[in-house]
């Protein structure tokens, strides 16, 4: 009889354990991104079903700003973050997370801009002016690099934090003199507000602003196959935009809320990278590592960061290297 009692208990517990299993619907991977044109290819891959072709269930979560993306990543709302190196470093310092860059989207090659009133002719005139920046993000690095051109420091200007959409409103009502912006907001400001122009852009500091895709070190380790599939879907999207530019630009510009022509112009200010073009960047002088170190330095100098990271901890090439291996 004792045996029967024991058997009953075991069967009951097994039943309970079975029914308490978490449902396996968590395979969904979420990618957080904003309206940065470089990231449109991640969206295009979703729209064209390239993720599904690779056996992935991907959700694209759209944020208004880079800051919001970082926040979403830190809260666990998304597993994969499309951002710049600034967000990567901030997350690494401010949270227990260990974000690692595993893939690049593009180099900003003029798309990131500093727009000012037309009466401000050169960078040195920015001293004492009110400049809008997305707080805790690339904008600060961008502004610091801009001011550095004229030998100015961040203390020399009046920095106010706001989102990209707020910058547009603030430019309209003249409450700010300049804004560190990027498409589509920069396109809208330059198009809609008459006395505005670009005083600095990333074409002057090529390779320093990189748009990256990163995830948790642990997540990368646990889901290498999924991330490889993301890379393959990305390549498919880039190829698709080359072969079918009209359709691709129409889809991508729609989300940017600008015209396809404007989107085409914007694209000339960035260099989208297919995976085959990315690996060489990590070789030799390793521009990526150098960029990480540079951004880290600049941010420390401007008191955005306190810690100097070992750049090797912040990136991995393992996914890129094996993306097309069986």
């Amino acid at each position: 009889m004792k045996k029967i009692t024991a058997l009953l208990v075991v069967v009951g517990l097994a039943f309970l354990a079975y029914s308490n299993q978490t449902p396996s619907s968590q395979n969904k991977i979420r990618i957080g991104l904003n309206a940065w044109p470089g990231y449109e290819f991640l969206y295009l891959a979703k729209e064209k079903g390239f993720y599904a072709e690779e056996g992935l269930d991907i959700d694209i979560v759209e944020y208004i700003s880079l800051e919001d993306i970082r926040f979403g990543y830190e809260r666990g709302q998304v597993e994969i973050m499309a951002s710049t190196l600034t967000e990567l470093l901030l997350s690494a310092e401010r949270t227990d997370k260990e974000p690692q860059l595993f893939f690049l989207a593009d180099f900003s090659n003029g798309a990131d801009v500093v727009v000012t009133r037309s009466n401000i002719q050169d960078i040195s005139m920015l001293a004492g002016k009110v400049i809008a920046v997305e707080p805790d993000s690339l904008g600060l690095f961008m502004l610091a690099r801009t001011l550095k051109e004229a030998g100015l420091e961040l203390e020399d200007v009046d920095v106010v934090g706001m989102s990209q959409s707020k910058m547009y409103e603030s430019m309209v009502d003249n409450s700010i003199d300049a804004a560190v912006s990027y498409p589509p907001t920069s396109v809208n400001i330059l198009r809609d507000i008459s006395d505005t122009h670009t005083i600095f852009d990333t074409s002057r500091i090529p390779g320093e602003v990189i748009d990256i895709v990163s995830a948790d070190k642990a997540f990368i380790k646990q889901n290498p196959d999924a991330l490889k599939a993301v890379i393959r879907a990305w390549d498919k999207a880039v190829n698709f935009s080359i072969q079918n530019p009209e359709e691709a630009f129409s889809i991508m510009s729609k989300r940017e809320q600008i015209s396809p022509e404007e989107f085409k112009d914007v694209l000339s200010g960035i260099r989208v990278l297919k995976s085959e073009a990315q690996l060489p960047l990590f070789d030799g002088e390793n521009r990526i590592k150098a960029s990480i170190e540079l951004v880290n330095q600049v941010m420390i100098q401007n008191n955005f960061l306190s810690k100097e990271f070992d750049a090797n901890d912040l990136y991995t090439t393992s996914i890129l290297e094996t993306a097309y291996e069986e």
Partner: protein, 794 residues
């Protein structure tokens, strides 16, 4: 018992509805839990959506900034359980968590009508699309752009992703169901355990106790509880204790009774020994006295002594028999014997009494009666003798008929019946039922008139029972009685008996014709039936006229004639027949009173044979053959009688019988018995050496050689058993021939014979012995041995 229903345990009968109710309950619980969880999901989703809508509604009122609104919406949309948040103005999406949808028009008519309804009535619309895992809240919302005095009329759509929540709701329902099933299972299990512990297990104990009781062990049901089952067990235990104490009492009583029976048997054995010893003296002396020269009066006195003694002996034997039967000490023998001979011998015993009372005896035997049987001839004789004694005793005039019949059974057995029919006083109807009871005769007065113990019928019936049969009775008061004994026996398939009439085989009697003339027609018919079985032509006549008519008309070879025919003496009939006819059939005279006739006279009168009635079936054919032989060989110088027939039967071996020449050692301590036995043996012609005890017998044996030794069992100093053992061992050492030793004892109880044989004796003779008994044993043992010895020496 064949139709007994198959065993069906209550346990199963109880557990089945339990299980069914449990399963139904679990299913209901599961459904209820699912619905409940789903309801909670719906409420929670609605509350979340409502909270989101409230926040969105308040946002532009507080900030006055639509750029903040779009950022807020994108953040809300990034929540895992929010699928999409959109704000509609007119038919267009103006804000959306999905950038690409901003500016699009809504085409879904269903959605549009819902939006219209919400705008008109100003109330929320909440809907679950379970198949798409979506919950949808449509609600009016205010969007205030800076510098505008009026809010734009807007509608908010919040789409919640409920897939995960739904799965978890289903899962929780499952969990609850599982827990319920598990709990119910446990409940059932423990209920079952309780039922087993408090009901089935104690019932099992009681069952075990009852089974043990059936197998003869007194076991108590050990249940020390005060409840219904406990009461049952207690009641059973009381019952069992009652039983066992009663059983013990019964056992004691049984032992006592058995002891009593044993003592009674011992007493009877002793008493019989004590009575038989003096009886031996009385009868022996009377017998010897009768052979001396006595006056008629003295002879009559001696005969009275003899008859009284014999009557007393019968009485003792009856009582002994009954006690032996009751003690189960009678054993039925299984030895080959001839049924017809047994019947004839028994009739022979009773014939003198019949003649005294002038009663005729008729024997009817069917054709092909199996006569060679294996069984106890002594007991058959005892039963028949009892029935015949009764018949003769209670018949004053007329005749006694003995009808034999047989029914063949399986396995070589037959069931034969012997009916004894008399023309006596009969038995009153109200007495018939208990005439077989011990000590119970039809009427107390009959005992006084006819004598007897009233044990005979009871003994006979019990003997028949022991031989697989019974006795039945039919009787009419004043007309007569018919007692029929049924007995089952095995047929002897290989009879050793020789054809005693083989020397007559050359004489064919099949063409002989016989006329039977007795004034009692029943005798004629009976004899005629017997003759016809042997293809003998037979006629009957019961008066003078029919006799002479038959004699005239038929060609008769042999006439069997009774004493008188129509009042004319047989002698005269013979004369008349011879005178008036040239035919000369042989005349056989039959009489029921042979003592009144002289055989020589009858021979002179012209009779060829002289036979006492009844003529036995076995005698008829030899008689005819003997007549034919005499006629053929013309040796008509003697008259054929029963005796002459018997003499002819004897084989050459019989001729050599010489009992009188036997040399006998007689060991007997009682001087009277010794004297009588000695006289009897000497009368037969034996040379007798006497010994007064065992020691003397051994000494005598050592000194001389004997053909036979008669050994009393109980003697002072060395008893018969020890003496026998010594003699046997002496024989062994001398390598001499085995001398037959015959026990001579008054111990009449069963088992005595076995003790004697065990001690090395060969046979057994019970006191009081008659000269005939001695002669029989000498014939059996000495003659056989003597013949064997002679054959060897030849």
């Amino acid at each position: 018992m064949k139709n007994k229903k198959p065993f069906k345990s209550i346990q199963l009968t109880l557990m089945l509805p339990f299980a069914v109710v449990g399963i139904i309950f679990a299913i209901i619980t599961g459904l209820f839990a699912h619905n409940f969880m789903f309801h909670i999901l719906q409420e929670r989703t609605k509350n979340q959506a409502t909270a989101i809508s409230t926040a969105i509604d308040q946002l532009t009122l507080i900030t006055g900034s639509t750029s903040q609104l779009s950022r807020f919406i994108s953040m809300i949309g990034s929540e895992r359980n929010v699928k999409k948040v959109s704000i509609i103005q007119g038919n267009n999406i103006v804000f959306s968590s999905r950038n690409s949808e901003v500016g699009d028009a809504i085409n879904d008519q269903h959605m549009l009508s819902e939006i219209e309804l919400v705008n008109k009535q100003g109330v929320d619309f909440f809907e679950l699309h379970t198949e798409e895992n979506i919950a949808e809240l449509i609600t009016p919302v205010r969007v205030r752009e800076s510098n505008h005095l009026q809010d734009k009329r807007s509608t908010l759509i919040v789409e919640m992703d409920i897939k995960k929540e739904r799965l978890s709701a289903i899962q929780q329902a499952w969990t609850i169901t599982t827990i319920m099933i598990f709990a119910l299972g446990l409940l059932m299990f423990f209920t079952y355990r309780l039922i087993v512990k408090y009901i089935f297990s104690p019932i099992g104990h009681i069952q075990t106790a009852i089974t043990a009781r059936q197998e003869g062990n007194y076991t108590l049901a050990h249940i020390e509880r005060m409840d219904e089952i406990g009461n049952v067990a207690e009641t059973y235990n009381h019952l069992i204790q009652d039983f066992s104490s009663k059983g013990a009492e019964l056992e004691k009583a049984l032992i006592k009774a058995e002891e009593g029976t044993r003592l009674k048997s011992e007493f009877l054995a002793n008493m019989s020994h004590e009575i038989r010893t003096p009886m031996n003296g009385i009868l022996g002396v009377a017998h010897l006295l009768n052979d001396t020269k006595l006056s008629a009066k003295q002879k009559s006195f001696v005969e009275t002594i003899e008859k009284s003694g014999e009557a007393l002996l019968y009485l003792i034997n009856d009582i002994l028999d009954l006690s032996k039967i009751e003690a189960g000490k009678i054993e039925i023998e299984h030895a080959p014997f001839n049924l017809l001979k047994t019947i004839e011998d028994t009739v022979d015993i009773i014939t003198p009494k019949c003649r005294d009372k002038n009663i005729q005896t008729i024997i009817n035997v069917p054709p092909n009666l199996p006569t060679s049987l294996i069984g106890d001839s002594g007991r058959v004789r005892q039963v028949l003798l009892n029935l015949l004694s009764n018949a003769v005793k209670f018949t004053h005039e007329g005749y006694v008929t003995i009808n034999v019949d047989a029914l063949t059974l399986e396995n070589g057995h037959i069931r034969f019946e012997i009916s004894v029919i008399d023309t006596g006083i009969g038995i009153p109807e109200n007495k018939i039922s208990h005439i077989f009871n011990k000590f119970d005769q039809a009427d107390a007065s009959t005992t006084r008139e006819f004598g007897g113990t009233g044990l005979g019928l009871s003994i006979s019936q019990k003997l028949c029972h022991m031989m697989g049969g019974d006795i039945s009775v039919e009787s009419t008061e004043g007309v007569g009685s018919a007692f029929t004994a049924y007995i089952e026996m095995q047929v002897d398939g290989d009879p050793k008996e020789e054809d005693r009439y083989s020397h007559l085989k050359d004489y064919d009697i099949s063409e002989t014709s016989v006329l039977i003339a007795d004034n009692l027609e029943i005798i004629n018919i009976g004899l005629c039936t017997l003759f016809k079985q042997h293809n003998v032509t037979c006629y009957t006549a019961h008066d003078k006229d029919s006799f002479f008519k038959t004699l005239e008309t038929k060609d008769i070879d042999v006439v069997l004639i009774g004493e008188r025919l129509s009042g004319i003496r047989a002698k005269d009939i013979l004369l008349q027949a011879r005178k008036g006819s040239e035919k000369s059939p042989n005349f056989v005279f039959m009489t029921n009173t042979p003592a009144e006739y002289d055989k020589n006279d009858m021979k002179a009168a012209g009779f060829i044979a002289f036979f006492p009635k009844p003529i036995y079936p076995s005698e008829l054919i030899p008689l005819l053959k003997d007549i034919k032989k005499q006629r053929t060989e013309k040796t008509g110088n003697f008259i054929i009688t029963r005796h002459s027939l018997k003499e002819r039967r004897k084989t050459p071996r019989d001729e050599n019988k010489a009992p009188h020449k036997a040399k006998v050692l007689l060991a007997e301590d009682n001087p009277v018995n010794r004297g009588i036995a000695n006289a009897m043996l000497e009368k037969i012609g034996c040379t007798v050496k006497l010994a007064t005890n065992g020691a003397e017998a051994i000494q005598a044996y050592e000194e001389g050689s004997f053909d036979l030794i008669f050994m009393d069992c109980q003697m002072p100093e060395v008893d018969g058993f020890e003496a026998t053992k010594s003699i046997r061992s002496l024989e062994g050492s001398k390598a001499s021939n085995r001398t037959p030793i015959i026990a001579f004892t008054a111990n009449a109880m069963s088992g005595d014979k076995d003790i004697c044989l065990e001690a090395g004796m060969d046979d057994y003779i019970s006191k009081p012995a008659k000269p005939k008994d001695f002669e029989e044993k000498i014939n059996k043992w000495f003659t056989a041995a003597h013949y064997e010895a002679m054959r060897k020496s030849e």
